[in-house]
Amino acid sequence: MTTKILELPPNLPKSQNEEAGASKFCPGCGHGMVLKTLAFAIDELELKEKSVFGCDIGCSLLSWNYMDIDTVQTHHGRTTAVIYGVTRANPEAIGIAYMGDGGGLAIGAQHLVNAAVRGEKMLIVLVNNTNYGMTGGQMSPTTLPGQRTETTPYGRDCSVTGKPAKGAEMIAAIADSDKSYVARASVSNLRKLRSTFKKALKNVNEGGFSFVEVLSICPLNWRTNNVDTWARLQTMEEFFEVKEFVSREGL
């Protein structure tokens, strides 16, 4: 009996750059899953030709050629400002600003807050992995209480650093509920993440502002194996509520 090996091409979204591949990120990283899911959502809504993708510095930087859509890699925390600069100048564009928890909630927080208040026509994707990955795993605004990082080697002491920042709750509190979509999703459920991205993109396509925080994983800096990684993600989901905060009929 001869063995026949079937060569099946991977199921890639059209909005993903075939040549870049998923190997850009560390083994087990959540970014690849988030980006691929986002690309599928863009495909489904047929927004590829209208979308502009901006990425921040940090691990999100590695997505600079991940998508097969026009992309600009910006500076630390500045993706939001560049992308609303684009959509203000070209109101037809679907602006997507892709960043981590540091880029969104620390160094670029003023842009996030003001883009939400002004209802800029854009989707902000904030991938929350509770640390600064690219710079070697320091504490970020979302680092969990007690979590060990390079700058909290004995665990995050909230009496010193304050409590973890809850981005989606903050944005939900300030965004215009008539034209905004605000949600938190997780890489533990990609089907749900895809429908979340679809709603968010649809809202932007209708002229609104969308914010999606995605709870993600960083096994390398967390120093966790598969089982522990999954357990950590479960803990995050208990701490950061996964749900839609602001939505409306018809999305």
């Binding site: 750059n17 590829k48 030709e49 209208k50 502009v52 901006g54 510095i57 930087l61 600079w64 050629n65 998508m67 097969d68 859509i69 026009d70 992309t71 600009v72 890699q73 910006t74 500076h75 500045r78 939001t80 400002a81 560049v82 992308i83 609303y84 600069g85 684009v86 959509t87 203000r88 100048a89 070209n90 037809e92 564009a93 003023q110 842009h111 807050v113 003001n114």
Partner: protein
């Protein structure tokens, strides 16, 4: 497309900030991103007041960081966009200006200098000269026009857009609080009436064509993995920038041909130097001026020729020698002795210069 307001030559009595807004419109600028900081606010005030007529765009951002970066976004989207700032705003906008340098984005910014360092004064200075020429973590691949009054502001603001879009280096109109706030007569015109054709703009993001069939997706980045990869790019930029000296450098000489005392200055201080030179010439003193208009790139050849001809040089600035530092590097090897008249953050008057030159005549400088 925007509506141009100035269709024929129009003499007006305006503040410099107003002139800049009209100039941007004359240059067919389509979008301004800005954040309030004195003494440049009236650029946006005027721009906003004119919007119903011009049908251009404006966004007031949350700070100068965002003003700088959103301007980059607007330009990448294919608009002739610009911003303006001053002082501490200029400091925090350097990040965006660096990105423009690295990515060859035709960024245009008017800088209305105020006193420094820090918050200092809201009034006037020439203390952002070095920052505007060499700020950011780069090599100063920037074009900087230093203006000396309202006609300059109008002429060079229009020119800045064309230089930026033609050569794709960030381009600055460097002025100051005096020029921004003062009123003097100026003639506004349609650039076409002077034979000036605006360089067409194009989008880097969402350019025409379907991705995959007409064109590949465009991935713009400013991060490199390898040291050599970066240097290869920058070496190319350096070659491009070096060519600019012959192509776009500008300077003004005033009675410099036979000048024994050559005053080297820039911007609005050049106006005081003119007043002083007229007075000194009446007294029989052979004084003259060399004023670089482009501070980046400097017109090095004529500068060296003028310095060689003179017996003594006087550097004068409303700063502590920020221009002189650049000039001295450019005239390396020449031995004409020099003296300085620096008033940090304070206007230099004609009287100040006359007094200094007379002192130099009495006791010539030797170094």
């Amino acid at each position: 497309m925007v509506n141009k307001l100035i269709k024929e030559d129009t003499k007006m009595f305006l503040t410099g900030n107003e002139v800049l807004a009209y100039a941007a419109n004359a240059a067919e600028a389509e979008f301004m991103y800005g954040y309030p900081i004195t003494p440049q606010n009236e650029i946006m005030h005027t721009w906003c007041k004119l919007l119903p007529k011009t049908e251009a765009g404006f966004l007031q951002t949350e700070d100068e960081i965002s003003a700088g970066f959103s301007t980059l976004g607007g330009i990448l989207a294919g608009k002739r966009a610009f911003t303006a700032t001053a002082g501490p705003g200029n400091v925090i906008m350097q990040d965006a200006m660096s990105m423009a340098e690295m990515m060859r984005i035709p960024f245009v910014c008017a800088v209305m200098q105020r006193g420094g360092p820090s918050t200092a004064t809201v009034i006037y200075a020439q203390q952002e000269t070095r920052l505007t020429c060499y700020g950011g973590n780069g090599e100063g691949f920037r074009i900087v026009y230093s203006t000396a009054g309202h006609q300059d502001l109008f002429d060079y603001m229009i020119k800045a857009f064309n230089t930026a879009w033609k050569y794709r280096f960030p381009t600055f109109v460097l002025a100051d609080g005096y020029q921004g706030k003062m009123r003097e007569p100026v003639t506004l015109y349609d650039p076409a009436s002077r034979g000036i054709k605006m360089v067409p703009v194009e989008a880097s993001l969402l350019a025409p064509g379907k991705i995959g069939t007409d064109r590949p997706s465009n991935h713009l980045r400013n991060t490199f993995n390898m040291e050599e990869e970066l240097m290869e790019v920058l070496d190319e930029y350096a070659v491009d920038f070096a060519k600019l000296e012959d192509e776009i450098s500008e300077y003004e000489e005033y009675k410099a041909d036979d000048a024994e005392i050559l005053i080297i200055t820039h911007g609005i201080v050049a106006r005081s130097a003119r007043t002083a030179i007229d007075e000194l010439r009446e007294k029989g003193v052979k004084a003259g001026m060399f004023r670089p208009i482009t501070l980046r790139p400097l017109a090095v050849k004529p500068l060296r020729a003028a310095v060689s001809r003179a017996k003594q040089i006087l550097f004068t600035e409303s700063a502590n020698g920020q221009l002189a530092q650049m000039i001295l590097e450019a005239v390396y090897g020449l031995t004409t002795p020099y003296s300085t008249l620096y008033k940090m953050g304070v206007g230099v008057t004609g009287d100040d210069i006359v007094e200094k030159v007379e002192a130099m005549l009495k006791q010539p400088v030797t170094v």
